[in-house]
């Protein structure tokens, strides 16, 4: 089996990496267009306030200023949104969070734009803020949008929980809490908008989901989709984060370009980026499990509340994944799960790698360890007892008809870290300055969008007359390597080497709307479409090859850049000769590949359905060292095991695993985007700390491959599953070391040492507070108002 493929499964160099090591790659901010103007945003002064008036007269008359726009100047739709269209491109009568834009400026230079922004006078009537989603859901709470603050309620129902709890020998009831997380892509947001020659606009930018941004720009400008061309610049990381925040930036730059008739560039500083961009949802999770003494789970009752922030964004989808996966990959006949999302005046929350799973996995995997404690089993034993096997039926009533490798990945992870032995040994240690612990966590994860929406994608394979190939796709590369794996798939099918392939960045006017590149669907959707496209071209090439050589098609193959006779491997013509012949015969050498996912279903009222067409399985094991004097936790060893179906590129899969663990480590131990009374407290990397090379240990990666017919060459997905298990594995390891359980992440020094967080709030006159105050005073001054 191992020799079956020439390119698939190999650690081929990435197609886009040469440009990135030489400095040649062009990220959005690297684009400069002649006579471009600087676009800038005036943001809200208060997180919640009525806008009484906006006076732009002084700003507009400043020399060098070419346009000052407010919501009134938007010709079409003033709001956008993938589900609920309630996000303002510019706030008109009310600001709902501190990142809201109120006015736009386009000026000849950055300095002039800054000055113009400071001359805009906005009169506000501040409103009380709602910053706690549980408070926001209570009757009588101040309503942030038109109706009530609760805007999502998803449920899953299975069996009868009353009966389940009656059958239980004991009940475990816990409350878990997670934090806001900043995506922390190292490249801040940027776009350049230009007028298109035949009307409309052309936008080049750091955009993850080009097609949804295009739709919103077209709606805002009131023009058709074909007059908005969005080209993806090489993207400096996204992790789900360059979606709505980019949509609003695209709309704003397009409005300024249309108004001024000139190209407009907009770049966020890091502070603007952190202030405005959406975050990972904080969840409050109430878990109640009934179980028997032998470890069998008889009932699960789960209630989660997600902080949606100021706008709906992706919350309906994020929370849907949570509701589907909230019970984990464990058998339970009686389930009642409710997941809610509520509006607050905090930063809005949306897609981030994991997409609603890291939160619930923290709760599920903590509960599993507590259950093990109750019944006297090891964390591994309890998972092996309750974990899904082939043909298991999930909480939503879906029968799993693929290889359910949960126990395989669990055993691999446990063995690699020597789990049971260490777990018993560390548990017995009573005293010590430094205490060790091991923890394990596992999950199952639905692949791609599932019943969230239409799931289809296009990839185009275009063979040139000299035998070189151009590939493009509606699926985008943000650094995860989508371009490379699609290229590998095309190269494998066409029997050519990777150096023949050039991949074009996504352009909305040149490929079909392929939906968003989210949900770890790049390989399974874009890759399947690439396979489909390359197979079409291959069929044509073989047909021409047969005519050229007189050999029957069935006896021909393409391999190592040659047309060959299948049995003898005899080289009949070079790939270039074959493609030239194909061109001369007037045959099409372009393959338009389209892939539509297998069907899924969801019954919102009943809370059941075939949620995803296939699932992936993963297990992580962590070893930590806890300093009992300070509460500091060092992760000293880590094992990441994932069944990816088939690794198209081993190096890239390992890269995803290491990167996912690092981000998960930040989630579990370090990162907390603190928002107090709807005011974010960290706006740059000096205070918002993400893991550095010194925080992340060497990670053992184990790739498990149970090929799945649903994906190209059996491949499924890897991007998100790698990010959803590190936090619970680490928290469980902390328990093994200290005997204390963490119910709220991140597990900071004070939570580990004292069991609660030391608040940075209040009027203690610290540097932090001073700088925040002065920032606020400064921004008031800038906005020409009395502080």
């Amino acid at each position: 089996m191992a020799d079956k493929h020439k390119i698939i499964g190999k650690s081929e160099r990435r197609v886009d990496a040469w440009g990135k090591v030489t400095g040649r790659a062009k990220f959005a901010e690297d684009y400069t267009v002649g006579h471009q103007l600087w676009g800038m945003v005036l943001r809200a002064k208060f997180p919640h306030a009525k806008i009484l008036s906006v006076d732009i007269s002084q700003a507009a008359s400043l020399p060098g200023v070419e346009a000052v726009l407010t919501a009134k100047d938007i010709p079409g739709s003033k709001t956008f949104g993938i589900v609920l269209k309630n996000q303002a491109i510019l706030a008109e009568d009310r600001v709902r969070y501190l990142g809201d834009g109120v006015a736009l400026v386009a000026a000849a230079s950055k300095e002039i734009a800054e000055r113009a922004i400071s001359l805009i006078v906005v009169e506000y009537e501040p409103l009380p803020v709602v910053s706690d989603p549980e408070e926001a859901m209570k009757p009588g709470a101040l309503v942030i949008h038109d109706e009530k603050n609760e805007f999502v309620h998803h449920k899953v129902r299975k069996g009868d929980i009353e009966k389940g709890f009656a059958e239980a020998d004991f009940v475990i009831e816990r409350r878990f809490k997670t934090q806001f997380i900043e995506h922390s892509y190292i490249e801040p947001e940027c776009v350049v908008a230009e007028l298109a020659e035949q009307g409309g606009v052309k936008i080049t930018g750091s955009v993850q989901n080009l097609f949804s941004s295009r739709r919103s720009v077209a709606d805002a400008l009131k023009i058709s989709l074909n007059r908005v061309q969005i080209i993806q610049a090489t993207l400096g990381g996204s992790f789900g984060g360059k979606d709505e925040v980019m949509t609003s930036m695209c709309c704003r730059a397009a409005l300024l370009a249309m108004k001024t008739g000139k190209p407009v560039k907009m770049v966020n500083t890091r502070e603007e980026s952190m202030l405005e961009s959406y975050k990972r949802h904080p969840y409050v999770m109430y878990y109640k499990w009934g179980a028997r003494k032998d470890g069998t789970i008889t009932a699960m009752e789960i209630r989660c509340i997600a902080d949606g922030g100021a706008y709906s964004s992706m919350s309906p989808f994020v929370t849907w994944r949570s509701v589907v996966q909230a019970t984990g990959p464990y058998y339970c006949e009686n389930v009642k799960t409710d997941v809610y999302a509520a509006y607050t005046n905090n930063n809005y929350t949306g897609a981030m790698r994991g997409f609603g799973s890291p939160q619930v996995n923290f709760a599920i995997e903590s509960m599993m360890d507590e259950l093990a404690e109750h019944v006297g089993m090891t964390p591994l034993e309890i998972r092996l007892k309750n974990g899904f096997e082939n043909y298991a039926v999930t909480a939503t009533g879906q029968k799993l008809n693929h290889t359910v490798s949960l126990k395989q990945v669990l055993r691999e992870a446990a063995q690699a870290i020597d789990f049971d032995r260490k777990w018993r040994e560390y548990r017995g240690v009573k005293e010590g300055e430094k205490k060790r612990g091991v923890g394990i966590a596992c999950s199952y994860r639905g692949v791609s969008l599932g019943a969230e929406g239409t799931d289809a994608a296009e990839t185009i394979v275009s063979v040139q007359t000299d035998g070189s190939v151009i590939v493009s796709s509606g699926v985008t590369d943000m650094g995860q390597g989508a371009q490379t794996q699609m290229s590998q798939i095309a190269a494998e099918v066409l029997g050519i080497s990777m150096d023949r392939i050039q991949f074009l960045n996504t352009n909305t006017s040149r490929v079909a709307d392929s939906g968003p590149t989210v949900a770890s669907r790049g390989t399974i959707m874009g890759g399947s479409a690439a396979k489909n496209a390359a197979e079409k071209v291959r069929a044509t090439l073989l047909e021409v090859g047969a005519e050229m050589t007189g050999v029957e098609i069935i006896a021909l193959d393409l391999a190592d850049n040659y047309l060959i006779r299948k049995n003898s491997m005899e080289r009949l013509a070079s790939f270039g000769e074959l493609t030239t012949a194909c061109f001369n015969k007037g045959k099409p050498m372009i393959g338009l590949g389209w892939h539509k996912s297998p069907p899924t279903s969801w019954h919102e009222e009943e809370g059941t359905g075939e949620a995803y067409f296939t699932f992936v399985y993963g297990a992580n094991a962590a070893e930590v060292e806890v300093d009992t004097g300070t509460g500091k936790v060092d992760v000293v060893d880590f094992v990441s095991v994932h069944d990816v179906g088939k690794a198209i590129n081993r190096g890239m899969v390992i890269g995803q695993m290491c990167g996912g663990v690092a981000m998960g480590l930040g989630y579990g131990l370090l990162e907390d985007f603190e928002i107090e009374d709807a005011i974010p407290k960290q706006l740059n990397f000096d205070e918002y700390l993400i893991p550095t090379s010194m925080d992340v240990p060497r990670i053992k990666t184990i790739i498990v491959e149970n090929e799945d017919p649903a994906g190209p060459f059996g491949a499924k997905s890897v991007g998100e599953p790698t990010n959803e298990l590190a936090a619970p594995a680490i928290v469980n390891a902390i328990f093994n070391a200290t005997g204390k359980r963490i119910y709220e992440i991140p597990a900071t020094l004070e939570r580990v040492l004292l069991g609660h967080k030391l608040s940075r709030s209040g009027k203690r006159g610290s540097e932090q507070k001073n700088s925040l105050d002065s920032m606020m005073v400064e921004s008031c001054k800038n906005r020409g108002e009395k502080g």
Partner: protein, 160 residues
């Protein structure tokens, strides 16, 4: 603001020009010279995406004002390869899949070059310390550490 005359060498090429004294080296490289390989990530010296070499030492170009480079030698990512021939570090980054989104890569390469120029055969710990000022959100650093430690020059040093 009065401009300042500077004479400097950037990627082997000598420049003599008048500059605005309040301009950062980062802005100078990107906006004045068009050397956009050096990236802007945070502008407060935390992310390391703007790392360049000044007289062989890694510095955050967002924290250097242009007059400071008067008489100094600067190397950016664009100056690493010799023509079409990539620097061994660049080759190693390609081979180890140490490049994901690529935004931290130029800075990472420059920090790595500083390390290898001064510590030809670094330990894992030394390597991690050398790039601890360069944030990467994609890779978890492992492939970058491996790429640096297994660069051709380093390997030949080890075998000696």
């Amino acid at each position: 603001m009065k401009s300042v005359f500077i004479r400097t060498t950037i990627n082997g090429k000598t420049y003599e020009l008048d500059v605005r004294p309040n301009m950062t080296l980062l802005d100078f490289l990107r906006d004045e010279l068009g050397l956009t390989g050096t990236k802007r990530g945070c502008e407060v010296g935390e992310c390391g995406a703007c790392t360049v070499l000044m007289n062989g030492q890694a510095v955050n170009s967002c924290l250097i004002l242009v007059p400071q480079i008067d008489g100094q030698e600067i190397l950016t990512v664009e100056g690493l390869a010799e023509g079409e021939k990539l620097h061994p570090l660049q080759e190693s980054f390609l081979d180890h899949d140490a490049v994901h989104c690529g935004f931290c890569t130029p800075g990472m390469l420059m920090s790595a070059k500083d390390l290898l120029d001064h510590t030809p055969s670094p330990s894992e710990e030394e390597t991690r310390a050398a790039i601890s000022g360069n944030l990467c959100r994609c890779s978890g650093y492992q492939q970058i550490v491996d790429a640096i430690r297994e660069t051709e020059d380093v390997r030949s040093q080890k075998s000696k």
